[in-house]
């Protein structure tokens, strides 16, 4: 039986040292995390210099306090892509940071970055922190990302904020994420068909909570009927 190790060993110890150096370099490169302090690499060359230092400082403070930096970086990149002024970018990132702090105090320290971002969207849409607290209470142990996001979506679609909050809370105990997504999609579709946002939400909420959507008997907020897809 031949020993491949001794066979390749004839090239001498220099190659061994080289291999060790390459192994170390590979592992260092792979394990190198995003720096906790300093400049966020995703922003390099993407946002105006006048905003860079302030945004980096906000990111550092956010990380230090346990907030996710991803949504903040995304907001800065959005502003940059849209050609916003440095002041506008910093203001938008600061505002989002403040909203994330409110949501975290409401959802709890274990909330995921996606939950925090969705909760911030809900706050922006008009929900109050006590509404989010009620949502947390009604859905113990369940992810809140989709419920909070649907709340914001409904307001974006034209539903009054109080009405949207009420609908999301009514569904909170029993609805799964898929139910929330279907609910929002149906409301949006009815609005596009000409229903008023409030009427569309009312009809779809009754359907969702009373399970009135029997096959072949699906109603729309515009008064029409359409068959359920097979």
């Amino acid at each position: 039986m031949r020993d491949s190790t001794s066979r390749v060993g004839i090239v001498g110890p220099g190659l061994g040292i080289l291999v060790l150096l390459i192994m170390g370099a590979l592992l260092l490169m792979a394990a190198a995390p995003v720096p906790a302090h300093g400049q966020e690499p995703r922003l390099a060359g993407r946002i105006p210099d006048a905003a860079r230092a302030q945004v980096d400082a906000i990111l550092d403070a956010a990380r230090a306090s346990g907030l996710p930096a991803e949504p903040l970086v995304d907001r800065a990149l959005e502003g940059s892509a849209k050609g916003a002024s440095p002041g506008l970018i910093v203001a938008a990132v600061t505002r989002l940071r403040d909203e994330l702090l409110v949501v975290r105090s409401t959802f709890g320290a274990s909330a995921s970055p996606a939950e925090l971002a969705a909760g911030a969207s809900a706050l922006r849409a008009g929900a109050r922190s006590r509404d989010l607290a009620e949502l947390r209470k009604l859905r113990p142990g369940q992810p809140l990302t989709v419920a909070a996001a649907v709340l914001a979506d409904l307001v974006a679609a034209g539903v009054p904020a109080d009405t949207a909050v009420g609908a999301v809370l009514v569904m909170a105990s029993d609805a799964g994420d898929a139910d929330y997504v279907a609910f929002r999609r149906n409301v949006q579709r009815d609005i596009m068909l000409g229903a008023s946002p409030a009427a569309a939400l009312g009809v779809r909420l009754r359907s969702a909570t009373n399970l009135a959507d029997a096959p072949g008997n699906e109603t729309t907020a515009t008064g029409g009927r359409r068959k359920q897809k097979p």
Binding site: V8, A30, A31, A81, S112, P113, A118, S121
Partner: protein, 184 residues
């Protein structure tokens, strides 16, 4: 009587001769014994096993392969964590990823891309493909559960919201749309 021509008898005779021992042998043996470590106490053998030096023989090619494998595992785990964006796993612990299609009808466009929270708002990251001559553009993007703000950019300069999606809040003077991806 022994036969002087018998080789075996010669060997036996030589073995019967007295052995001469050097006078300093005893001192040398005792000095070597003094240099030996003391006998191990109970449990010391286990400790010695833990502190034992191991030799791992690895060829340069094997070493590089091992390093590359470890680096790939670490890098992949970091990439997955970042792309998941902290998305909550499904009930079975898996991260849910949904293929999400973005479609825009832009008959006169030469190029269309989608920018959003899922691609660092990069104009070059997610170009749409033209589906037919009617100006239908589309792309499919894998997304984890969450709420994503996005917009289409036509010909690199014209920002357009998705007419099929809710409008999202915008602080920068250009319209956004929003897509919500459900979990389980």
């Amino acid at each position: 009587m022994t036969d002087p021509n018998d080789p075996l008898a010669g060997i036996i005779a030589s073995l019967k001769e007295p052995v001469t021992i050097a006078p300093e042998l005893t001192e040398r043996v005792m000095a070597e014994i003094d240099r030996l470590p003391p006998p191990l106490a109970a449990g010391a053998s286990v400790e010695r096993w833990w502190r034992r030096r191991w030799t791992i023989r690895l060829s340069p090619v094997g070493g590089l392969a091992l390093a590359a494998g470890l680096a790939a595992v670490i890098f992949a785990s970091q990439l997955a964590g970042r792309r998941a964006g902290g998305a909550a796993p499904a009930a079975d612990g898996a991260i849910v990823v949904r293929a999400t299609q973005f479609v825009l009808v832009a008959p006169g466009a030469a190029a269309v891309s989608v920018v959003g929270d899922f691609n660092d708002w990069s104009l070059a990251a997610t170009p749409l493909a033209r589906a037919d001559d009617d100006g239908v553009w589309w792309v499919t993007v894998p997304l984890t559960p969450g709420r994503y703000r996005y917009a289409f950019v036509v010909d690199g300069t014209i920002w357009r919201p998705d007419p099929e999606a809710p409008a999202a809040d915008d602080e920068f003077g250009r319209p956004n749309s929003v897509v919500t991806i459900g979990g389980a």
